[in-house]
């Protein structure tokens, strides 16, 4: 089975209303599709990178799925100490390089697979069927347990958004019940309305305090390949130990040349880096001058710097 490029919601500011729209919580984690062809079960993320060995919880298909010929679409999440889905936590699993650590990390960072769609069932593609039908099939096939859940759907999108804001979750996804599953990325029959925003940025420099990195200078590339400064972040999910580790990590990346297209406002004592590290940042909104308001570091990610572009 060749992994596919999964369907993505487009961003929206308003919640669409109408009997054909349902709303789901947008679970903040990593997108994982499960491909089972009757012989083997393999997992791939949105970028078609294999994750089969990262999540034994999901590859034990027989524990939760009534068939062994299926493609499932969902989000793998892990909760933080505050009981909310934490991208930082799930990256502790998703970012593992040494697979012998998986069984240890399973205990430290338990994950839940939030399944929301079904693409293939018993030897047949079902992507041409309506979302309504696919969800009904999904419900018949999946037996939820502690680590496998079905994403629930709600009629009142506005009410769900209010709840999501109360609970400080990422946002909601609105889906058209009559729509088919569109391969190859963004499609308007899925819309996301976000409570907080996030993006993946390139680290072009750092500032230090007492010899330890205490903030990251962030940038995004434009179409001409120029790196634009979008702000600095010094708060978020990194622990003291992470900052110390980072101080070591950046040593080989140090360079004399400032990598940004224009000199950042915060540049005194900045140490410039070869733009290679990428980091997921949450923020409140864009300022008029094109920088992030209240950016907060979620986790370092494994995305090539060149793919961090201004939208």
């Amino acid at each position: 089975m060749q992994p596919i490029d999964p369907m993505e919601p487009i961003a929206s500011e308003v919640v669409p209303h109408g009997p054909e729209w349902i709303a789901q919580v947008k679970w903040d984690g990593v997108r994982v599709l499960t491909y089972a062809d009757g012989l083997s079960v393999r997992l791939f993320n949105r970028r078609q990178n294999e994750r089969t060995w990262h999540y034994p919880e999901i590859t034990q298909l027989g524990d939760y799925c009534k068939t062994n010929s299926v493609i499932l679409d969902g989000e793998v999440i892990a909760l933080g100490e505050d009981g909310k889905p934490s991208f930082h936590e799930v990256m502790r699993r998703d970012g593992l390089r040494r697979m012998e650590k998986v069984s240890q990390m399973q205990k430290i960072v338990p994950v839940t697979y939030m399944i929301f769609d079904l693409l293939y069932l018993n030897g047949e593609w079902v992507i041409q069927r309506s979302l309504q039908e696919r969800m009904e099939l999904l419900q018949r096939m999946i037996v939820p347990n502690e680590q496998i859940q079905l994403v629930s759907s709600h009629n009142d999108g506005s009410a769900l958004f209010t709840v999501v804001q109360q609970h400080q979750l990422e946002g909601i996804v609105l889906k058209n019940l009559t729509s088919r599953y569109v391969l190859g990325g963004k499609d308007a029959s899925w819309r996301k309305v976000k409570d907080y925003r996030d993006l993946i940025a390139v680290v072009g420099g750092v500032t230090l305090r007492d010899g330890i990195v205490n903030s990251l200078l962030l940038g995004l590339y434009d179409r001409e390949g120029r790196l634009h400064y979008i702000g600095h972040a010094g708060t978020g999910k990194l622990t003291q130990q992470d900052w110390r580790g980072l101080t070591q990590t950046i040593v080989p990346l140090r360079q004399q040349a400032m990598p940004f297209y224009r000199l950042p406002s915060r540049h005194k004592d900045a140490v410039w880096l070869s733009p290679q590290l990428t980091v997921k940042v949450q923020f409140a909104e864009w300022t008029a001058s094109g920088t992030l308001r209240q950016p907060s570091i979620q986790s370092f990610v494994d995305l090539p710097a060149a793919e961090c572009v201004l939208e």
Binding site: E100, E146, S153, V163
Partner: protein, 300 residues
Amino acid sequence: MHTVWKGSISFGLVNIPIRMFTATEERDIHFRQLHKECHTPIKYAKMCPHCDREVSADEIVRGFEYEKGNFVIVQDEDLDKITPETRRAIEILDFVDLTDIDPIYFQKSYYLSPQDTGDKAYALLRQAMKNTGKIAIAKVTIRNRQSLAAVRIYDNCIVMETIYYPDEVRAVSQVPALPDHEIELAENELKMAEELIRNMSTSFDPAKYTDQYRTELQHLIEQKMEGKEVAVAPTAPRANVIDLMQALKESLAATSNAPAGSPVRVSTQAAERPEERPAAEPAQATTSTTRKLRRKKAEA
């Protein structure tokens, strides 16, 4: 898999854009060194013994020790001047038979996969090499270092093996005490040895060989993590996704004034709560044993 390099295979006039992945990995279990007292990882500081202080990266230069205590300083600019042109290409020079290259030359294996529009040319080279049974010798520059490589087919993938330059393989003549061929051997002893080899002959089955020591070490670590002697407590017991889903459901019911169970056309039995919740318990157990361990330490 993680792309370690992007470039192309150049083969005659054809350029095949490829991505490269490390084919093998060390599976040894690594330990960190900790300070016995507080279990903080030990940090290595770069010290100058002459100035008696720690030095930072920008205070360090590269020196080649041509005789004890005497150095020539080599700057980045010096190296840039002589760096082989990074053509980012695996340049195929010759085709040879695999048996022409002794395994002693093989260094490290990398998988190559086509990128962008390269899949057709990739498939063509793969098939041609399969049909002729030949492997390619190529020159490749990775990270400013030029090396020699063999390009061959493994399974359905083009693989690049970096190989040592001939002067990097030590001459066998330097190995001491090798008996020469003239040494007299007893006919019947030789026959017995050959017979033994025949009896032990089988086909190579890689799955048969596992690292016994690593498996046991892994097991030992898991045992320790399961409770008894964890050095630092893993994070506190975690909240449960099912609890969160339930909380959302209740909030939603309060918000929309609808009964809690029925907000959805496609019914949601997903949030049903299992009878027992094993997730929280092992974590708690770990914490308490850790506490016990700490107490023990304090008493000691």
